[in-house]
Structure formats: structure tokens, C-alpha cells
Symmetry: C2
Subunit: 734 residues, 2 copies
């Protein structure tokens, strides 16, 4: 359990923070009530009022519980298990936890844990005794609790500490940066959160050993991020703007060096893994063996085309063996560690794209052989866990349709998969019971706002706990029409899926201005079979203003297999633009799309695509809004950038062809670039250099920035941003 | 003679770099040819084609010469004095100087000097002998040549050097910053170019001693100016953006410490003036006595309300005496040093606003008494020099009309002033002969593009050398109508002057959108009686597009006396906005002004005014473009800011009332803020913090910036900028 309290961001994830997963039924009904942006966007204050009803659940061992702010209750009987009121009576200092924060971390034992900020409490609710009540130091971040020893790893500045159950702090590291430079950091996420990395500490199964990352980034220059403050001087301090540290390794330049230490909380000794390879290799997906004697690391060379799964002895730090290697002429991308079979420590589940699609494998650690469990032209999207009774694996895949994501189980020896619940729509939540016999599944489909079900993982059957009504219909809003379909990619062969949102009062005899919303980068998709085809709130807002929006997942996007994704290798933007152009061909074939009023909008990779489309097809796209765009992959980071583009030295043509600065003179329509002024992902240098290029080329682009904003805007800023985007289309595409 | 090769900028001067002094006759004639922005703006490549014919002149002793790229010629006879061709023959290494660069620095001696970049050449053109041919080191800046000893002072990094006539470098200082931090700098301009300071070295009359500034700004934080580069990596260097040093003392915060040294080029010894007062006092207008034994410094306390004229012995560095003091409850602002009478070393000319208007005084250095030479409700704008024969002072003043600037002479004992040439229009150039008996006057008036005259300074009579034709008329352009007049200020009493530009095909029966162009800050005026009433090229461009432009010099602007200027003291923006509002009242009284289409535009202080007007009168101003604005005087510099506003601690209400951030919620119309991304004068923090305030208040402003641009845009950037400004009004005020 790792809490990430430091802001982490990377190109892909950030997309989803913008994609507000608003959903509703598919029929268009012209009603009276109009949406405000505040209601439609996650950042809006009234947003939650229009969300489908939800049910919050948790497991106490194998007992499914419904949680409310007041307490937790048996889902079957409604019987009260534990209330906040009861807990408050047992603490002299009143507790302000909510039932939603309760977890039962010790299986069927009557122990509840609740966390609030820096405080962690464990409570035996049969004996009414406090097992743990500890509060971490005020500046503790990256907090990682271990239930066995009840110790918490945390960082302060660049150093790593362990907090004992009685609140004592043990220093794991001493030489981390304390001057704000972040040159040496311990216990934090490394490799800029790529390769599935989200934290920097890894407790051994018995909680006595703590593996952790150490990152030396002193050789990586810092991007000069400027803090403008705004409230005038603090006493004694200058009110002038200042910079803060933001190490940013640009493609082809020096990268940071990561090592792995193991701290023994009993002896207070550190052991360093004697890592092989180059200093700027990637050390990913750290996995402990169940016996706590060794660690597996998925290691990758900087070129990202050769992965080694290496086992290390944690007592000596020495390498034991290389279990497995995987090579690919383009790239290998390990995203998941090993998960050992609960009933057989000699075998582990792993995921690999080695056959072209992400699938589940059983790795035999005695023989170093792997056995493929799932297979087909579809991908495993998530490995959820085990049914330890039936010895089955539970996972999500899009076997049924590339836009769907359903829950399945499969026997450990492979064979027939069983769909858990309906084999349609999208499973957007799966909580397994302790033994995995049952799962609480949260489910949505284009016409299903939300459904929560309690299901048997071996049979796929069970019962419905909640079917939410459509809150938009219930509250009498005028709802647009949400559609999905497919077209052929620019290669003439590949199926691409789109969604389309039509105004509520849509009239096929009219002609509508149309905005293409685009992302297009790897590790993301926009069209899925969830409520309203996963349409974003802004699309409904635009529909209400009389615009059609069109969203197409082009080649390069996720969950379609390696060939589909790697079509863009070393030429990011090229194939994606050709595919989006095909989307426009389709739009232009529709009588109700106004061919002279086509706009485009996207953020991050979608900002790169928006700018690219405006410059590549200036005769097609009249208005564009590009948020947080990449302009030149030379300015993007080593990890993501080199995976898809190699280095500028290895691929000069690819970098040149995708450098939008060099095409600034092509700009004809209205293009607004918008960034977070403190974007640490697509640093401001991208747009600033593009603006310089436009000025030099004598073209006019527009610009806006959110001071203090990073790669995406949240809360009120997000509402302001979408007002801004809307206004731009209203001004120029109207 | 000081060359400033480092970019220097301050709020006032920058205005004029934008005000492209385009001029033309006052009649409107609807003709065919249309202007391009490129032709109308100083940054345009075809700009010079539409400038009035000019005559370049210089003096050789008392002989007036006309200079051409080929050489120099007697203005009376046309006789060839010296040609570039002749000079080229005398140098083995071909010289590429132009006749325009020739000067005759040794009175009537046949010695010509020419300067090109780092090379300085002196040549006896009767003896055909080279007197000097020296080239400074490549990184030499702040170059200051002395004709007596033929030495050149220059700086490299933070250190000061003297280059001997044979090219040897003597180090004056050793401890200046060499790390780019600029913490300690020698020989450079100080106090951010306020108080008339433009350089940091001051040669003694005989050229053997060099006085110079030393500035310690280690206690002043540096604004994080970001260099984004744009061309990709230099070999071995990161291509990431970086910051560079830009010390910026904000009002009320720590200011730099300036001291004055004197270097003896013969003994190589330095003497430091033992300056009185506080370390952050201002040491301005350094003047040598003719005997080279002492130096006068106009010293000012940080509060800028107490000036002392102090004499120092340069041999010992000790203070000799305080000659004069001047106090004012608001501020005293010394802008000019002493100029000793050539025929009487015991007396010097000085300027002072002590009677409420800037006038000339004779200071008797024996008695420390001053005698007022000019007097009246008008101001001396420039002291030009002496007629040493008639013992008269030559100067420019606006005695005839606040918008005019004419040349006069007055006897050293005061008395009747004689107008030199016509007492109307604007004298925009005055070169005196060696003895000052004659002056070459360049002259312009609303209907006079340019006139160059050779005049006697004692009688005011003389002859015309050139009367330029109107190049706009000659080339058949469609010319707008330029008008000027006056209205009453918001106080109901004070006269304010405006100019107005009407489209060439103006029709009083129509209604026109109107843009108010505004500056409004001290030390500047916009309306003067030069060609086209000093209208800027952009106004003609807007007239061509069907807009009226209106320009009003409100209270606070220059050349109207101290009371007029100080009406804004401690409340910058308040009175100025009230006066501009009066201007709009006048506009609204005109039947041909469309009351619903009034816009506003200004730069620097004018950007502050534009933003202020948009927020103060949102019902009046529909569209605004604010360039390089001050938003919060808390973010402006110590020298200028504290003069007009005192410190934030002394004047909290004044700072609060003028803080536009606090009124961001008032924004209703369309407002675009534009800055140079590297503006060292109004640092980006102003606009960035305003944008943040708009976002927080839920209002929408627009934004643009010029990466690499400073406080003003030049060349192609200026053309791009004005296309941008025009487009904004076309989009939203049309």
C-alpha cells in the first residue's frame, strides 16, 4: 500500500484526469434543462449531483460489506458490523474517520484500519482495543504502511525513514538531498513513473525488510520552473518570483542513475543490490519472493529493447540468476511484476506482450519456463487476483470487443475462460474477497450508468446489488445522442473505433460545426463501451451549444496489440494524423457535418496531434485548441521519448519530421495553445519555442497558460479552461 | 562618449521605441495606395522608403559638413572634405566605414575619427597619417573613448578595463563577477538607468583619470528569466531551457549599493570616494570640474525627497563640501549634471524643477548661490550648449505651446530669449558648431515632414538646407486626417492635449469604432506638434481599416510642470484613468464615434492604464490590448516605483488601490495582455499573477508573449505584434 502524496505525472495518465467519465443513456430527448460546465466537469462544484448513484463496498475477509459515512454493514443482511459512532466512543480524542475509509487488513480478524492524513489507526472492534494509533511527522510523504509489523516507510526531502508502531523514526538514508535540489532521492518513484512505477518502497512479505529505490539525478539538468507566487511578500522574504528544482532528462541526454537498497528494520543495516548493466538502465517492477529471501527486478537497457528478469539475494545483494530475457527490435515494456501463486511459491503470474498481445503467463521459477494462460487477438487489461479455492485467475480483458472490458476467470492451467457477469460494457471496479471466491464488480455500459454486482468468480453468476438510474434523465436534462462505430484506418485494413456526440435537438437536415477531440498517443484510448460511450462532459456541453464532437482512437493507441501500437514507432504523429484524416473523410461523408467548420482539440499527446493536424491539413481544420502539447520530441523525456522515438542521434529524420516548430509557417487557421505554466511533463519550452517559430515565420497562434498549473488543470481551473476552450470555438468556428 | 552595447531599458524610454515617429500633412485625401504594416512600422523592412528625406550633417570645428556614405562635404559649397575612397587608400586593410560615421573630435584640426564595432580609428587627413588604430577585445562592452589620451574604458563581465592607444589592456577592477551572476559590476550603468544615468564611466577632462561606478547587487534577488533557446542541443550541452541573472530590486525591498571609484591611468591606482549617507542612496549625474581635481555628485536619499550636490577631492576621495541641497515633500529628481561655463570655471549650468517647472540656473561655485536664467509656466526640455562668442546658452523649451519644442538662446545673465528658427513645431535635432555660433537644426511640424536649417544661435536667423517633401503624398498613398486639440482634465481646470486620427475616407455621417491609445506615465508625452501630430504608424494602419484613434496626454505626463506630474503621487493610475475617461466623454460627444465600440491599447505604463481602464470602466471599453503592463507596483523596481509610490510599507493603501490583480473579477470585455517573455522591466510576474487572479475570479483574459523579447519588440517582432494587436480589434471591436 503506497500513498503518493507528491504530484506525479506522465503523458498517458494525465489524459484520464481530463477525461471526465460522464455517462448516460443513448437516446436523444429534447428536454428543458440545460447543463452548466460546472455540472459536467469533475472540477465543478455541482458535478457530483449529476453522477449516477454509487454503492461503496469493502471486504472483511470473505464477508462483503457496504460502507457509508456512518459505518459498514453486511451487504446481504444490512446488519451493522461497525459504526463510526462506536469507534468514537473508544477514543478519548474524537475520531473523524468515515466508514468509507475503513479497511479490514487482517483477513477475518476483527481488526479495522483507518487512515486520515498522517494518522494511522488499527482497532480490534470485538475487544474494543486500540492496536495502533500513530501519527507520522508533518512533512512525511510517500507513506507506505506494512500491516504485519505496522511500520510505515516515508520520505522527508530526499531521505527515507521508517516510523515504528510507537512513532519512533528510523533513518534509512542520510545523504539524500535536503537543500531542495532533489539531486539524490531515496524511496521515491523513479524513471518518471514509466514502466508501471508509482512508488519507491517495497515491504518484504513479513514487513521486516524494506526494499527501496535510490535515484541520483545530479547529472540531469533541472528545468527552470518558475513559482510566481502572487500574494505579495512574506515577512522578510522577497516577493520576487523564484525557481524550483525539476530535473528533466531530455531524449538522448544524460539520464539519472537508479539503484535498489534493502533496509533491515531489525539490524538497521542496508544492503545494496549489485545491479548489472549500465548506470542508466531501468530497474522496474520490483517483486519480493514469498519467503522474503530474494527480489526479482525487471531490468531494461536504456534502448528499451532488451529486458532481463533478474533475481537478487537480499542478504548479500548479489545476483542469483537471470530467469528470463525478452527482446524486441522496437521495444519491450515491462509494466507488471510477478505475483506468486498463493498455493505454490515456485510459480508466479506474469504479463507479457511477447506474442503481440498482452497476455497472462505462469512462470515456473524452478525451470524458468513460462506457460501461456490466455491467447488471442485481444489483450488482458488487468490481472485482478486469485480464486484460491478454485485455483483460478481473475482478470479483465477486451476479448469480447476492443471497446469493452469484461471480467473473466481462467484456471491456472489455462483452458476455458468464464465471463464473470455480463460479457459486455466495461467493468470499472473489481474487489475480490479474501479467498477470491467472490468479487464485487462495478459495471457500466453505453446505456447503463452504473451497476454493482456480487458475483462468484468460478461460475460468473451472482446477484445485483445496485442498478443506478440515469441521473440526467431523472433530473430532466436535455441529453445529446451518443453513438459509436468503426471506420478503416489509413492502411485500409485496420478497424478504428469512434464515438460521436450529436446535439439533443439534432436535425439531420441541418449542418453542424464539428470538433474532433483527439489524443492518439500510446497507453490510452478514448472510445469504450461505458456510459455514453465514455463521452466527456465537455462534449455534452458542446452538443448543447450546437456542435458535433467526434473522437477516434487511431493507430498507436492502447489495447489493440503491439503491431497496432508500434505502427507509430520512430515517427510519432505521422500515422496518427493519417488516421484522424480518415476520420474527417468519414465526417465529410455525413450530410449534416459542415465541411467548412471542422475544428480540433486535444491535450498532451492530443495537443501534439491538434497542432500537427492544424499544420498538416490547414485546408481541413479551421480552429484548434492544443493543450500541454509536445512540439518537438527533442524536448521530451528520455523514458517515454526514447521508447517510441529512439534518441535524436539514432533517429534524426524521425525527430525532424515530427518537429512542429519547423512547420510553424503552415499555420492558417486559428490555433490556441494552452499550458500549465509549471508543466513538468511537457515543459513550457515546447510551446514557447513554437510561438517563437510562428513569430519568425510570420504566422499568428494564440496562447494561454495557467500559472501554477501543471500538466493538467483541476478543480476551478478545469472549469475555467473548458469555458476558455468553448469560447475559442464559439469565437472562430461559430 | 559612452557606447551602451548592453541592453538597458526603463519604463519611460521604452515608450518611445514603440512610438514610431511617422509624420505627414494634415489634409485627408482619398487616394488609391494602401499602407502595409511593414511600411508603417520601424521594424518593417520597407519602412525607410516612406520616411521623409533626410540630410546627415556633422561639424568640423565651425565648418558645417554634409555626410553621405561616400564622404563628407561642406554644406555651403558642396566641396569635398574627405572621402571614404581616400581613406581606404591610406589603410592596407580596407576600411568599410561610411561617411555617416565620421566625426571630427579635435576641433578644427584635420583629424577624423571613425568607429566600427570594436575598432577605433583616428586619421590626420591632411598628413594622411594614422593617429590611432585600435581594436578592443571581442567581448568588450560599455565602450567609452577619450579623445585626449585615446584610451578606451570598457567592461568584460563584471570587470572594468582601460585599453591604451596601442591596444594594451589595463585592469581597473579585479573582483567583478565573472560567473554570470552580476553580483558585483564595475563601470556599468547603475540605479536601473534612472536619474539620467546611461553609463558607468566618466573620463576626467584631460583623460588621465577615469571615474566609474561599482555596484554591489549581491543582496538583490535575481528574477528568474528563462532562456528557452530553440535550436536544439549544442554539442555536449543540454538543450533544456536555462535561467540567466537579472537582479531586480522590488519596491520596499533591499536595493543595491553603489560606490564611485577613480582610476589613475598613469599610476594604476584606485581611489574610492568616501560617500556620505546610506548604502542604498543614489549617486547620480557625476560631473568633473574642468581642472580635473574634483568631482560633483548629485546624491539622493532612498526616499528621493532630499538631494545633496556634493564635491569630492579625487586625489584623496574625501568630501570637500556640500554645495547645494534640494528637498521636496514628494520627490526631487536630479536628471542632469553640471556643465561648466567654458569661459568661467567658477560657474556651471544646472537644471532644476525647484520653482515647479524645469528651468536653467547658473550655479556659482564660489558662493554656492544659484541664479535662475529661465522662468515661466513652461519647461526647458534640453540644454544644448553654449555660444561661447556671444556667451549665450542654447536650449529647447515648450514656452510657445505645451506641444511644441523650439530652440532658443538666452544670455548667461538671463533676460530676453531669442527663438532660433521658427517658434512652432518641434526641433528634433540640434548640432552646435565648436564655438556654438551656429546650429544645424532639424525641425518638423504637423504639416512639415522635415526641415534642416543652418542657423545663428544669437540672432535665430539663417538658411534652410533641406525641406523634405511629403513622401506619403508623393508616393500616392491614401492618407488619414491628423488633428489635435485640448479638453479639460477631470479636475475641470487643467488643459489636456489630444490627437486624433480619422480614416482617409472619413464621413461624419457614419459611426466609427474608436481605439484610445494610452501611455499616461511620467517622463513621457504622446501629443506633440511634429509631423502628423507625432502619430504612430499603427494609427494610420487602423485608420485605413476604418478605426478612429484617440490619444490624450493625461495628468502625470511630462513637460507640464511638477504639479501636473505629481498629481498622481502615491496613487498611480487613479487620476490618469479619470482624465482618460474625460477623453472618452469627449469622444462620446462626437456624432461619428460609435459609443458601443470603444477600445483601448497601450504598452508598459500604457499597459497598466489599458488594464486599469478595462477594469475601472467595463461598461465603456469593450476591447483592450495591454502590452508589458505593470499590474502591481509591488512587483516594480525600487527606483521608479518608490519615487512615485513610496514603499508598500509607507503607502499600503496606494499599493492596494492600484493593484489590478484585486480587480480581476471586474473584467467584462475582451482584454489581451502581451509581454516580452524575457521582459526585465515589467517582469512576467505582473501578467502571470494577473492571469492567476482572473482564473481565480472566473474571468477570461487573453494572453500572448514574445519568447526572447524584452520590454519592447523590435524588427520583425514589432510588425508581428502590431498585426496581432490589429487582429484583436478586428476580431472583437469590428
Amino acid at each position: 500500500m503506497t500513498e503518493i502524496s507528491r504530484s506525479k505525472c506522465f503523458l498517458v495518465k494525465t489524459l484520464f484526469s481530463l477525461v471526465v467519465c460522464i455517462m448516460c443513456t443513448v437516446s436523444a430527448s429534447a428536454q428543458q434543462k440545460q447543463f452548466s460546465l460546472d455540472e459536467l466537469l469533475g472540477g465543478g462544484e455541482s458535478f457530483w449531483r449529476l453522477r449516477p448513484e454509487n454503492m461503496y463496498t469493502t471486504w472483511w475477509g470473505n464477508m462483503a460489506l457496504r460502507s457509508t459515512p456512518e459505518g459498514v454493514y453486511d451487504v446481504h443482511t444490512g446488519k451493522e458490523i461497525l459504526t463510526v459512532e462506536h469507534i468514537n466512543k473508544c477514543f478519548t480524542e474524537k475520531v473523524v474517520f468515515s466508514g468509507h475509509n475503513f479497511s479490514f487488513p487482517m483477513g477475518e480478524e476483527p481488526v479495522v484500519m483507518f487512515t486520515k492524513g498522517l494518522r494511522r489507526v488499527m482497532f480490534d472492534f470485538h475487544a474494543d482495543s486500540v492496536i495502533l494509533d500513530v501519527t507520522l511527522p508533518q512533512n512525511a510523504v510517500m507513506r507506505d504502511f506494512n500491516v504485519k509489523t505496522k511500520q510505515t516507510a516515508y520520505t522527508v526531502g530526499g531521505n527515507l525513514y521508517v516510523c515504528t508502531p510507537n512513532g519512533e523514526a528510523i533513518a534509512v538514508s542520510q545523504d539524500g538531498s535536503v537543500d531542495g535540489s532533489d539531486n539524490i532521492v531515496y524511496g521515491q518513484s523513479v524513471h518518471r513513473d514509466e514502466f508501471g512505477i508509482h512508488g519507491g518502497t517495497f515491504w518484504s512479505p513479513n514487513g521486516k525488510l524494506l526494499a527501496y529505490y535510490r535515484m541520483d539525478q545530479s547529472m540531469v539538468p533541472s528545468y527552470p520552473q518558475v513559482n510566481i507566487k502572487s500574494q505579495g511578500a512574506v515577512a522578510g522574504e522577497s516577493r520576487i518570483a523564484s525557481t524550483y528544482s525539476c530535473h528533466y532528462p531530455m531524449a538522448g541526454e544524460k539520464s539519472h542513475h537508479v539503484t535498489v537498497g534493502v533496509f533491515n528494520t531489525e539490524t538497521k543495516q542496508n544492503v545494496w543490490l549489485n545491479l548489472e548493466g549500465e548506470k542508466d538502465d531501468y530497474h522496474t517492477n520490483i517483486s519480493w519472493t514469498p519467503d522474503g529471501q530474494s527480489i526479482y527486478v525487471f531490468e531494461l537497457n536504456r534502448d528499451q529493447n532488451h529486458m532481463r528478469l533478474v533475481q537478487y539475494n537480499v542478504a548479500s545483494g548479489e545476483k542469483i540468476r537471470t530467469v528470463l530475457e525478452e527482446k524486441h527490435e522496437k521495444y519491450v515494456e515491462p509494466m507488471h511484476g510477478l505475483t506468486f501463486l498463493p498455493w505454490d511459491n515456485s510459480k508466479a503470474v506474469m504479463q507479457s506482450q511477447r506474442d503481440g498481445y498482452n497476455h497472462l503467463y505462469i512462470l515456473d521459477l524452478k525451470t524458468c519456463e513460462i506457460k501461456q494462460l490466455t491467447k488471442g487477438k485481444w489483450v488482458v487489461q488487468q490481472f485482478v487476483g486469485f480464486n484460491t479455492v478454485a485455483r483460478r485467475l481473475v482478470f479483465r480483458s477486451n476479448e469480447s470487443d476492443p471497446r469493452q472490458s469484461c471480467l473473466y476467470s481462467v484456471g491456472v492451467k489455462g483452458g476455458k475462460r468464464i465471463a464473470i457477469g455480463k460479457e459486455e460494457g466495461v467493468c470499472n471496479g473489481a474487489q475480490l474477497s479474501a479467498n477470491g471466491v467472490m468479487v464485487i464488480q462495478s459495471y457500466t455500459a453505453p446505456e447503463v450508468p452504473r451497476s454493482v454486482n456480487l458475483l462468484y468468480t468460478a461460475t460468473g453468476k451472482g446477484k445485483n446489488l445496485l442498478t443506478a438510474a440515469d441521473p440526467w434523465k431523472e433530473q430532466g436534462y436535455s441529453i445529446p445522442t451518443f453513438k459509436s462505430g468503426s471506420i478503416k484506418a489509413a492502411d485500409g485494413v485496420t478497424d478504428l473505433y469512434y464515438r460521436m456526440v450529436l446535439p439533443a435537438d439534432f436535425d439531420e437536415a441541418k449542418q453542424y460545426p464539428t470538433v474532433v477531440y483527439v489524443y492518439g498517443g500510446p497507453h490510452a484510448h478514448l472510445v469504450e463501451a461505458s456510459w455514453h460511450w465514455s463521452s466527456r462532459g465537455w462534449e455534452t456541453y458542446m452538443a448543447q451549444k450546437g456542435y458535433i464532437t467526434f473522437i477516434l482512437d487511431s493507430r498507436g493507441s492502447e489495447w489493440r496489440g503491439l503491431e497496432f501500437e508500434q505502427a507509430t514507432f520512430r515517427q510519432l504523429g505521422t500515422v496518427e494524423c493519417q488516421d484522424q484524416r480518415k476520420g474527417v473523410d468519414y465526417l465529410m461523408s455525413l450530410p449534416y457535418v459542415d465541411k467548412d467548420r471542422i475544428g480540433v482539440h486535444g491535450w498532451s499527446f492530443g495537443g501534439f496531434m491538434t497542432t500537427n493536424l492544424m499544420l498538416t491539413y490547414p485546408e481541413v481544420f479551421k480552429v484548434g485548441v492544443a493543450g500541454g502539447p509536445v512540439i518537438d520530441w527533442n524536448y521530451y523525456e528520455v523514458m517515454y521519448g526514447e521508447r517510441y522515438m529512439d534518441t535524436p542521434e539514432q533517429n534524426p529524420d524521425g525527430y525532424k519530421n515530427s518537429n512542429l516548430r519547423l512547420r510553424a509557417g503552415n499555420l492558417k487557421g486559428r490555433l490556441q495553445l494552452i499550458i500549465g505554466y509549471n508543466d513538468p511533463v511537457c515543459v513550457p519550452q515546447h510551446t514557447l519555442s513554437f510561438i517563437r517559430a510562428c513569430i519568425d515565420a510570420g504566422t499568428q497562434c494564440d496562447y494561454f497558460l495557467y500559472p501554477g498549473g501543471e500538466h493538467n488543470m483541476y478543480g476551478k481551473d478545469a472549469v475555467h479552461l473548458h469555458e476558455r476552450i468553448t469560447r475559442y470555438f464559439e469565437d472562430y468556428l461559430k
